[in-house]
Symmetry: C2
């Protein structure tokens, strides 16, 4: 029935110890023994019982997760929650999963990388938020033979084991396709850039490109697209008036596209001034955004199962490490469309298992 180590040991006419040495290539095996065992392995089709393995293991695996501090950037609280879920679920196994947070400066990221390396991890999940330091980090990991998975930001050049996140360009197109439904002949579109601190988000750019490309393909070009910039940290809350001024002077704005998670900043202004004829579309399920979707001031949110993002990355790495599963590159998460009607169902069973 089930092929055990002892079965292949018998078949190969060696002891279980020898088989084990080959399985874990600990060396100290004769060529002859090795051949016999490998033959038996193939013929009988051995697959380890990972549960028994876990029971017997002395030392534990260590997975380190490196991501922005959720107290600074709200978006990250959900991926962190997903990681926590994975921690709970994997608690029966001999794995330790640590979280290391960094803040919005590149130096903080670099420090976190050092900290992570010092922990001597068997595997790493990280968000390659800053380009240069990420390259350095990836190189260190590779040198030490530590597999790693990228979260949220796509950086294929660094050759991660896998990427878990959303395809940002397409997400922008999805947003555009929804706006398209509501757009009439002379309506204009406003893209609002509400930036926070971190500036190296390449996916922000992609979300905008996807959006404008969609309309470009339909012959709707720059003449009907306005742009409004806010740097939150500098302008504090003082952008409200300038935004309203911009809005009235631009005229005919039917749609406002906010390519990051800060749609709530725009929508709350509209709410305050009771402006209801503009369709706001944004990203991510921050509490603030959810609330305004329910109230009707944000019409659509594009979501990326941010909780599962963290969860999946950890589970994936665990499987690779513990079960020695091969994993494919690049797990693009679904591009979810949320509105007032379906939003309450978004955290269904997936997130509670």
């Amino acid at each position: 029935m089930k092929v055990r180590i002892i079965d292949i040991a018998k078949k190969a006419e060696v002891s279980t110890g020898t088989v084990d040495r080959i399985l874990h290539n600990r060396g100290k095996v004769s060529k002859k023994a090795e051949e016999k065992v490998k033959k038996a392995l193939k013929e009988l089709g051995y697959a380890p019982d990972i549960l028994a393995r876990n029971l017997a293991m002395k030392k534990e695996l260590h997975i380190v997760c490196l991501l922005p501090n959720p107290e600074e950037t709200k978006y990250w609280s959900r991926p962190v929650a997903g990681i926590q879920k994975a921690i709970n679920e994997l608690s029966v196994f001999k794995v330790r999963i640590s979280k290391v947070f960094f803040s919005s400066q590149a130096t903080s990221f670099e420090e976190a990388c050092q900290k992570a390396l010092a922990l001597n991890p068997n595997g790493v999940v990280y968000v390659p938020m800053f380009r240069e330091p990420s390259v350095t980090f990836a190189n260190s990991l590779q040198k030490n033979n530590i597999p790693f998975i990228h979260l949220n930001i796509f950086q294929q050049e660094l050759k991660p084991l896998s990427f878990v996140g959303q395809e940002a360009y397409s997400a922008g197109k999805v947003a555009a396709s929804l706006c398209d439904l509501a757009l009439n002949a002379n309506d204009k579109i406003l893209i609002a850039y509400i930036s926070g601190e971190m500036q190296e988000y390449s996916h922000l750019q992609s979300r905008i490109e996807g959006f404008t490309d969609y309309f470009g393909d339909k012959g709707i070009n720059e003449s009907r697209i306005e742009h409004f910039y806010v740097k939150v940290s500098a302008d504090k809350k003082n952008y409200e008036k300038s935004f309203l001024d911009f809005l009235s002077s631009a005229g005919n704005i039917k749609i406002i596209y906010v390519p990051n998670s800060r749609a709530y900043r725009i929508a709350s202004i509209l709410k305050k001034h009771n402006i209801k004829n503009i369709l706001v579309i944004g990203f991510d399920t921050l509490e603030e955004n959810l609330e305004l979707v329910k109230e009707g001031y944000i019409r659509f949110l594009i979501a990326q199962q941010s909780k599962n993002q963290g969860y999946n990355a950890v589970i994936l790495l665990f499987n690779a490490l513990f079960k020695r599963e091969k994993i494919n590159n690049n797990y693009f998460l679904p591009i979810d469309i949320l509105n007032k009607e379906n939003i309450e169902f978004y955290d269904g069973i997936i997130n509670s298992l």
Copy 2:
């Protein structure tokens, strides 16, 4: 650190055997021993190591899944795939998971129920497709103390351990909210009933109610909603002409709502006749539907993570049975909105873990 059976045995001054008897209430324990053990259990906070348990278990759990034959009704192939995924994932545990299919007659369903009971399952997942036979089945299960989970069709009166599926009424509302975006002043809506065999789908009715209620709330009532009925089995393919006739006589139809998984039947007629100005919205990710979404003849699909539906139900029951987890009632799955732009990402990581 970790509390084991032997730890509580020592604390309670009994043997591990006695503790085991209490843990599994196999009886044959004195009151005194029981009290001492229960006290120790509480104080030390024992939680079983399910991996060690699995290793030691002699007999295996048996979960039986009862659902419509996917070869008859295409929708079911994805839940079945999800069940298969759960089977693979759980293969390391001592669980057997069997599938029993039934066809579109109530008698077939009843037979399947008999078959399922004869398998002496420890737990059952089933689709309560027919009302009366489902009541009988649920009663038998309850009498034999076999926990069960309902799939896809909501029948709370039968007191399943849980329900896994979509809230159909809200799904109808979601569909309506999308149509709403595209609906102009004098446009009309057509609801197309393309029925197959099985007639006891209460959720079909709910999907329609949700849809019409949404528009009712906005003051769009029956005067702007047309209805078209096809009984596929009777009319074979001959409804094409009658449908086209209906369409042109009704006039001004901007939206066609197909509240089941057969939107492709309508959309393929539109495709054949090159009709592009009508927005078709339907349900479920059948291959045929996906294709027509990509080609633009179906504008939206409402999906319910049908693969996860099967997967989650099995995992949930396994957790309840094996880990003795308490589970909450009613896991409503997300109401997913798919269109040409996001559909290729729909089968992301969730389905490949």
